[in-house]
Structures are given as C-alpha cells and as structure tokens.
Assembly symmetry: D2
Homo-oligomer: 308 residues x 4
C-alpha cells in the first residue's frame, strides 16, 4: 500500500491508451495535482493548452479488460485563490425561443472570476462591475472530468463522456466518494482533472467555478467484475451513471446498470429490484451541457442493508 | 376565508372547462377526497372508471386568463389501508436491449398490494408470495395529478401533463408545498387526484403506491401575474416545472421559467440570474413514465434572501 | 354514395367531441372549404380567429370506437391568390448556438406574401423589397391539419398532433392520398383545415405557403379494424404516421404501426416483416416545428404485391 | 492525377491519426477494396477482426486542419456473391412496449444470407427455411462507414459517427456522390469500409446487406474552406449531414450547416436562405441504429441554379 507523490509535466486532452506516467499496485495511494479546465495551474500559469487537460494516466498493475477499477477520491483541495466561471446559461438549457435574450447580456458573454477562500469555505464573486461583487457561495469541490482509457482503442475527447467516464460534470464526485469504472485497456489507465470549487446541477452555464487542485486518491481493483457504466457510492447511496444524449438515454443507461447491480449483488430478482427502484430510487442531473449529458441513478444504502 | 367541505359525486378524466362543482373565493379552504388512480375510493370501492379520475373542478371567483392560481396543499392523508403499485420498471426507462428481460418476471407483470399504516408511517408490502412480504417503506404522501383547465379550450387527459399541470407525478408535491398554475379559463378550474402514499423519482415502475386520500387545500389568486409553467415553493426552494418530452425539453421549460422568475421578481438581470443558476441550481426528476415527462428546476431560498 | 356540399359557418381550434356539422354515410363525398391557418377565407377575410381553424366535424354514420375511418383526399385546390409564409427557420431546427443569428434578420421576423397562380402551377414570392421578389416555386397543395376527435373525451389543440391526427404538417397529405384514422368517438368526427400551397419537409420555418382551399373528400369506414396511429397510402407506398417528440419517438410509433400492419394484413411474421423493413423502408420527416413532431414510415407497394 | 491501386493488409476500427497507408496528391484516384462489417473479404475469409474495419488511411498532400477534403465515390462494386443482414428490427426503433415481441422471432435473432447477383442487379434471400427464400431486392450499393481522422487527436470507433463522418449508414452514399469532410489532421487521413449491397432508410434492423467491395474514389482538396459537418452533392441535391442523438439534434446540425452553406456560397442572407429552406428542403434519415444517428438536409440544385 504505497503512497506516490506525482508531479505532472504533461497532460492529455483525450482518454485513450496513452503511455502511463506512473505504475501503481492495487491499494496504492496517489497525491498529485490537476490544472483547471483551461490548463492553468496552482500559480494561475498556463501549464498546457486548454480543454480539460488530464493528469495521468495511472497504470494499475494487473488490471485487464473486464475488471473494475475502484477510485477513492480522498482529497480534492483547490490549490489557488482564483476561480472562474461562465456566466450565461448555455443555449441548449433554455427554450429555443428564449436564446436570443442571452445575446443581450453585456459582459455576461465572458467569464467572471471568483475568489476561493479555503478558510471560510466560500467562493466570492470577484467582478467589481457587478452589483453582486463579493457575493459568496459555499465551496463543494468536485472533479468534472475523470475516468479510464476508452473501449476498443478509442481516444475520446475530455469534452465529452461515455462508459469510460470522462467529462461527466456531476457535483456528486466530491471528496469521500468511491467510483467504479469498467477497465477497457491493460492497466486501466486512470486520468483526472477539471476541478470545480463548486457547481450547480447540470453545469448549466457551461462551467463550475473552475480551479486547479491538489488531489489524493487510492486505486483498487476488482478482478473479473465486468460493469457496463460507471458506478459509485457515498455514505448514503450506491449509484450508477449514464452518459449520453438525450437525458432520457442517460436515465436508461443508469437505470439498466442499477438493475444489473441490484440483481447481481443484492440478491434481488428483476421484479423485486424493479419494485424497490420504483418507490425509492433517486436521480441526479450531472450535466446537460457537454456533448454527452449525465444522469445518476441512486439507491439508498439503508434500504439495501435491510435486505440482508 | 370560508372553509368548504366537498364530497365528490362524479370525477373527470380530462382537465378542461368542465362545469365546476364548487365556487370559492380567493383565500378559501377546501376539504375533500380523491379516489385513487383506478377510481377506487376510501372503501376500496369502484367509485368511477379508472385513469386518474379528478375531483373538481373548483372555480375561483375573479380568476381570469393571465392570472396565477395559488394552491396550498395543506393536508394529504391516505384514507384507507390498502395501497397498490406496479412492480416492473417501465419499458422506456431501461436500455431497449434490456426490455425483453422484463417479460420473464412472473407475477411482476401485475400489481402488488401494500398495507398503508398511518400510525407507524409506513407502507408494508402485502404480497404473501414475495420474500419481501412485510417489507416497509416510509410514507411520503403526494398528489400525482392536479392542475387547472388547459389552454385554448382544450381538454387534456389526466394521463399526461403540460403548462396547466396534470399528471406530473413529482414527489415534491407533498403536504406543505405551495403550487402556482397559470389561469387559462374563467375561474381557473382546479382539479386534483391520483394520490400516492409514496413514490420514487421518475415513477419508473409506472405508479407510486396508489391510494385514495383526504385532502385539504387553500386556493388564492394573483391577479395579472402571467406565468408560463407551473411554479412552486417549499421551505427550502422556489421551483419551476417543465412537462414535455424528452427530458431535455422539460429542463428547457423549467429553466426558462426560472430565468423569468428570477429576472422579474428577484431584481436580477439575465447575466446574474444565469450566474447564480449555474452554480446553485438543483433539478429533480418528476416522472419519466407518462406521455409528457417532468423535470423541476429549484433555487435555494436562503440564497435568494441574501440578494435583498 | 351521396355528394354533400357544405359551407362552414363556424370553425374549431381543437379536435374533440364537438357537435357535428353534417352527418354522412360511409362512401359519401363532401365538397367544402377551409380557411387558412390564421382564419382567413377565400376572400382573404377574417372568418374566424387564427390557430388552424377546422372545418367540421363530419359525423360518419355507424362509426364507433375501434373502427377505422378512411379519408380519400380527392381535391385540394387553393381558392385565392394570396398565400403567405413565415421566413426564418424556427429556433428549434438549428443548433442552439446559431439561434441568435436569427434575431438579426430584419423583416424576416415577419411573414411574407406569395402569389399563388393555379394556371402556371406556381407560387411567386410577392415581397417587393426582396431581391427574390417574383421567384416562383411549384405548387404541391396539401393539408397541414386534419383528423378525428381525440381519444378519451379529450379536445386537443390544432397546434399539435397525436394518434388522432391533427397538425401533422406532412407534405405527403396531398391530393390523391388515402388516410386512415382510428375512431375514438361515435361518428369519428372528421375535421380538416390548414391548407398549404406547398411546404418543404419539416415545416422548418413554421409554415408552408398558407392558403385557404376548396376541398373534396370521401369518407369510408372499416368496421372493427383497430389501428393505433394514422396510416395512409398513395400510388407507390403504404405508410404509417408517428406524432410525438422527439423525432426518435415518432420513428418508434410509425415503425411499430408498420410492423403491426405488415404482420396483420400482409401475411408476414415479425422476422420477415422486420427483414423487409430493414432493407426497403423509407422515412419522411413531416414536421419538426409543432409541439408534436411527425415522421412517416413507408413501404413500397410493388414489394408488398410480390409477397402474395 | 495519378491512379493508385492499393491492396490493404491491415485495417482500423477507429478513425484517428493512424499511420497512413498511402500518400496521394489532390486529384489522385485510388482503386482499393473494403472488407465487410465483420472483417470478411472478397473470398468470404476473415481478413481482420469484426467491427467495421476500415481500409486506409489515405494521406492527401497539403491537407491541413481547416481545409475541406473532397471525396468522389466513383465505383462501389460488391466483389463477392454472399451478403448477409440482420433480421429483426433494432429494439430502439419500435415502441418500448413492443420490444418483447422481438424475443419470440425464432431464427430471426441471427443473421441471414443473401445472394448478390451483379448481372441481374439483385440480392436474393438465401435462407432455405424461409418462405421468402429466393426473394429478390434491387442492388443499390453504398458505403456505411467512411470519413477522416477525428478532431483533437481523438480516435473514434467505427461503430459511431460525428463531424468527421464515420458510421453514418446513409444509403445516399452511393456511386456518383461527392462528399466533403472537414480536415482535422495533417493529410486529412481518409478511411473507408462497411459496404452495403443495399439498405433501407435508418438501417433499422442494424445492418444493410453487408458485403465486401471494390471501390474507386478520387480525393481533392479545398484549401482554407472550413466546414463544420460533412456535406455532399449528387445530381439533384446538395446536402449536409448531422450525426448525433437524438434525431432532433441531427436535424439541427444538418440544418445549421445548410444555412451556413447557403449564406456563404449562394449569395443568400439568413432570411432568404431560411425562406427557401422552409418551402423546399428535404430531409433523409440516414441511420437510427448506431450510437450516433444521422439525418441529411437536402436542397435541390435546380432551385439554387435559378438564384444566379
């Protein structure tokens, strides 16, 4: 159970079978850093071109296609003061007939800064010309984009997402969560980046409060367990993640994956898994901005514990 | 501020300009009952044909098109012991290639009973052949279908929903919530029914735990305030409701309505309303089963209070 | 086989169980007129409020729910000189990020006139300030909105469509076509209107070249044949019509209906109907503008004749 | 204007920046072969693993990102006798509630053979147990999957499609068509494969009649012309191609691209381009089976010629 400190020197804008930067054993912990979505590091310097640059990939010894990679996100800590966000709602999240309104929003076309204050746990708007200059929101750091090398030798842009994870922009990917990815390539090849100091559901203005981060995570391996879509768990819920368009298909992917999970690991048949999902399932909207959207299907752990 | 007790003698399966059963003044309170989705009353007797039969309509004096009808749901109390629910996931909420599995789920094709116990606050599965017979879930009563006469002289089936409300099947429509509907016809014409003892997000097995109810609500009127989609508020959030297909369009309707609300009533311009939505908005999935789906866009009241 | 001349004196903006204007026997022919989408008649006079006003309904003796109403569109003849159309693409048919462009298109925000010339068979743009003033397009008259009283006692706006037909805006509904509708109410109750001198696929600028019409049609009845969605046939194809959102669901409705048709009337099992659809089916886009979109699934008659 | 004969020795299952197999000058012609979707060659031998294996990539001298690659498909000739197809409709093209029917279709779950006869120009069903054994359909050879290296260093599976082309499965990609692709990588890197002896709209049973082919094409280059989505032209139409999900978004991409084309190359402003599209545009359904669907937006050349 080694702990590795890794300082990235280059980054990737696709999730594919790129040369690994570090080989780790299952159970190992990694401390590293991520630049922000535009490639700016902890000094707010351009470390690499923009577009969700990824730290990694990390190769997990013994991981082969058909396994499940386990990622425990132990620390997600913004490592500089300045965050930034988009302002206007994305044109696809409001009624088409309302889109023209957005064109008349002055300096809202650009990006505004936020001052991220770890001590008070807030991000304060830092846009002097705004009447809300200084307005604070509570920090809730998360990773926007992370995952493994995509299937079939593909290299998929960090702008989008799929069964391999990627740019899911789900605010539930915060400190303390455990995430499961299907392994498609030797070593799994784990990538991470695109930190958000906080984000609303849907990433509806196209960004969270974007920021570079110090990250600590532990990688484990479940040999021979094949999953179809990312899964996860936190203290309250187990959950599954569907990445696609439209949102309806995200729900289908996530619900099908939950049905598989409940019927293979919780002793339920299709009828009983359905029955319990019907009355107790919760869905979260990850993002409705990226090329592939994200919906999350959650089942309460307390309920599942009562089944045993 | 009169209180009316109203005992329904007939029901409607469409929301349209039907003759009203009671005329009330703004501020009046109504105590009445609803049969369940299949038309079964508090004695479990068939009171009317199935298909979300509605109690009402209630005519609010002075309501004219362009106003907003305010509905405070004060009491939603299941009034009999037996509830029932569908079992299997609906065929549209899982991946198409997984649908065939559902056909092999034995007596899951039917409906199963639940015993609703107001004292313990639980619904217990009452299906003796099931290994989960007696398994209990916490009650969280809600209305599946309610709203006003639809626009333009339409009469819209209680199977579906729209700008007038209808079969939204959102579990946030529980006791204590206030709901706002656009008025499309003289008197508004408020209808209600389709009680659920509880329901998961999405109504993914096609029903909640369906049950008849005693209901108390108060109707008020906001003259001259035109809204486009249903709105609501509870202790934590103001929210807007989009009813359409696919879910993407629900999000568009609900987000556009929230943008209107924030810019007309909270002193925000498009840029600042967008900025705050981007980082703090929450979306709930109402239903993904009915002909029109439902998504809800929520903004935290605590945040909005800090704007003033 | 009577022929009725009917001159409308009032119109409907919903398709529901309204009082019929004429009772006809199966096999009877009707000659009547339709106002245009904005309620303007053959004299270009406002005969009734706008919104696809319908002539009818026509009651077919003997028609009861579960039957199929057959409509032969024998003559569709624009009956005045002036047509009009929208100009700009609808905001929902282009990429959301391109919508703002539309706001800058000057007098394109409005409606432009066309001169419809039956002799030359053309519609000529009549917009003197346009460089294309006088530009001609070939006439191809069609009905945008027609159908029967909707199911379950509903009254559905003529802005939209469903299993009962309605505002399908499919340019294949031209002279010579036979259309089949499910009967949901006693007498079927056939309505028609919304003539277009011509229209592109999709009705992507929100209108065809809108015009009033003289219409001749014959109504017949297939007792006891229950269909789920509108069907039709012309010289080359049999076809089925799906009305919904998104287009994906239109395709599902239309394809399911075609599968039913082929397996119940053409002696094919599911495998063979699928096989032939797979290699020979054609789909047309009716409209992608109205609240419900329309896609049409077509199978070549020549192919089907070879099956017998 | 050289003519190159190229015999492939290996194939690709992604469209990315793979080492080119041949460098050609703009204007050069290539004669080569493609294996079928499962990797079977002209001798019906397994030449490479299945999954739309691609011949290529071909590097065009001088092509750099921001250019347009022009592909003239001059010959598409099935080069063996045996074709094969799926049988059953895909589960996503019919109503979810009808999907279970498909499970009961016996040997329709598999693939059936067709005998492709170049002399008679027909493909005859070669499935002795079928009552339609020997039934013939007219050949209309096309390429299912072809395109260029994807943007941003991605390698995209040949199962799907995007701005770079890929698995569009549009039956309009037949002999005689000219196709335009955006260049995203040095040399463009053109790939091709997945021949179909014929196919219906939508590829609704998941395949055309799949077959290996002899292909002749000519590659040209338009320096400095940046396009966003594939374009094409045949004798009757210019057309644009949108690849996405749902179909609605395909229409948006294709319509936006057509609007760009008409306003940049045909002297039309937004209003007039819209006006003409509204009344004369045609849409074809490419596929509604692959991960990304395909719709095609077409404008008649005869009309456009009258503009000049």
């Amino acid at each position: 159970m080694a702990t590795h400190k890794f300082k990235p020197t280059h980054y990737w804008n696709t999730l594919g079978t790129h040369p690994h930067v570090l080989k780790v054993a299952p159970g190992d912990t990694v401390l590293t850093t991520c630049v922000d979505a535009r490639g700016l590091d902890h000094n707010d310097q351009q470390a690499t071109p923009p577009g969700n640059p990824m730290t990694g990939p990390f190769y997990v010894e013994g991981a082969t296609p058909g396994d499940t990679l386990v990622v425990r996100l132990e620390k997600l800590r913004p490592n500089r003061k300045r965050g930034w966000s988009g302002v206007l709602l994305a044109s696809n999240v409001i009624d088409p007939d309302d889109v023209a309104k957005l064109a008349q929003a002055g300096d809202g076309q650009g990006r505004w800064d936020w001052e991220v204050d770890a001590e008070t746990g807030t991000a304060k708007l830092n846009h002097p010309s705004s009447p809300l200059h200084g307005f604070g929101l509570e920090l809730d750091p998360m990773l926007g984009c992370f995952g493994v090398a995509a299937s079939g030798g593909q290299a998929i842009s960090t702008a989008t997402s799929g069964a391999h994870g990627g740019n899911m922009d789900y605010r539930g990917f915060r400190e303390g969560v455990t995430v499961y990815f299907p392994v498609f390539a030797e070593g799994g090849l784990f990538f991470l980046g695109d930190g958000h100091a906080l984000q609303g559901d849907g990433e509806v203005c196209g960004t969270g409060i974007e920021i570079s981060m110090d990250v600590q995570f532990t990688l484990e391996l479940i040999k021979g367990q094949k999953i179809e879509w990312p899964r996860g768990e936190n203290q309250e819920y187990i959950f599954t993640v569907g990445n696609a368009r439209p949102l309806d298909q995200c729900v289908q992917h996530a619900s099908s994956e939950m049905l598989r999970w409940l019927t293979t690991s919780y002793g339920l048949d299709t009828a009983h898994a359905s029955l319990l999902m019907g009355q107790t399932v919760r869905y979260d909207l990850g993002n409705i901005f990226d090329p592939a959207y994200t919906m999350v299907c959650k089942m309460p752990k307390k309920l599942l514990e009562r089944l045993e």
